[in-house]
């Protein structure tokens, strides 16, 4: 018997880039992976800051106002970082949650377009409201936010 080894090693092939829906689903899948990973660290560090650094018994509105930079003083770099940190967490958490709900809604109601679209409309509205709230909190001037904090 003779053995002919035609090739050696592994063949590598490439495919055309994905288009349309497939491309979107892949992007969403990757987003879930990366945002999920990031949120683990963000949530843990959030607990660390609030419960260890600040201390469970010292979490008050006044304390948050200090970190947020809303005591009527010029905003420091620390305040900016604090806001950015929570902005990233908010965006990722809302995005992750919304896409998760979209997946589950598709699982159970994908074959009933009316219910699926209705659900997605509700979810999108909630997302828009949360984002709006987030934007207001982020962009709030020092004066306005200290007034909010006073109330």
């Amino acid at each position: 018997m003779t053995t002919t080894t035609l090739t050696q090693g592994r063949t590598v092939r490439t495919i055309q880039p994905l288009q349309g829906k497939a491309r979107f689903e892949r992007a969403m899948w990757l987003f879930m992976r990366y945002s999920g990973l990031a949120l683990v660290f963000l949530a843990l560090s959030h607990f660390w800051v609030q419960h260890l650094l600040i201390g469970t018994h010292a979490i008050t509105t006044a304390q948050t106002v200090v970190f947020w930079g809303a005591q009527g003083q010029p905003i420091t770099l620390g305040n900016v970082l604090f806001r950015l940190y929570y902005a990233v967490m908010l965006v990722l958490a809302v995005g992750h949650g919304i896409n998760g709900v979209r997946q589950v809604a598709y699982d159970y109601f994908g074959h009933r377009p009316a219910i699926y679209k209705g659900l997605m409309a509700v979810v999108t509205t909630i997302a828009a409201l949360i984002s709006l709230g987030g934007l207001v909190a982020l962009a709030l001037g020092a004066q306005a936010s200290s007034e909010v904090a006073m109330r």
Binding site: T4, T5, L6, T7, Q8, G9, R10, T11, V12, R13, T14, I15, Q16, P17, L18, K21, A22, E25, R26, M28, W29, L30, Q103, V104, Y106, D107, Y108, G110, H111
Partner: protein, 235 residues
Amino acid sequence: MKVTLKIKRFNPEVDKKPHWESYTVDVEPTDRVLDALHEVKWSIDGTLALRRSCAHGICGSDAMRINGRNMLACKALVKDVAKDGVITVEPILGLPVVKDLIVDMAPFFAHYRAIMPYLVNNDPPPERERLQSPEDRARYDDTTKCILCACCTTSCPSFWARGEYVGPAAIVQAHRFIFDSRDQAAEERLRILSEPDGVWRCRTVFNCTEACPRGIQVTKAIGEVKEALRTGVIR
């Protein structure tokens, strides 16, 4: 030893919904659940309906839910699954029950056919076989072992929720051809699997890997298909 089989029965001609029935049989601890079921069917109640053929873990026809886990009845030993002398047996989930332990496999095979489970090569046939390197052959070795028993697909929560999801078994079969260097339809299969009811419905729960009686790394194979879709490279 005496063992009680608690079997989920359903006869569409008389029953509105399934019900449980118990049978106590005398078996050896090293007998298989299939032997115990045969004992019920052949000596106690001939109306029990189940599907099996080879009885040796090859044909893949006797997948069932034994104590809540998908297994082949011909590969599960009584001593390994009996809990306080009781074994529960149900049909696999997610497919319509025809009678007792027999389900309608048509939707399962429809997904299988959808991924083009055959070699596509439009080059003129060589004088003898189409050769490939040992490394290329090893690439898809794991997924050649599939016997299409449906243990994986019917253990998958994503499939239970949405029967349109192509399911792990079809992805395993697609993997077997996508990563075969002699095949020329990998791109087409990948396009089918990149649709919303393709690989993205997999949430990496690993139920399929745990259920596979052939020990195929099902979730890993699905991951490799996702990786090919992510990078656009089949390697």
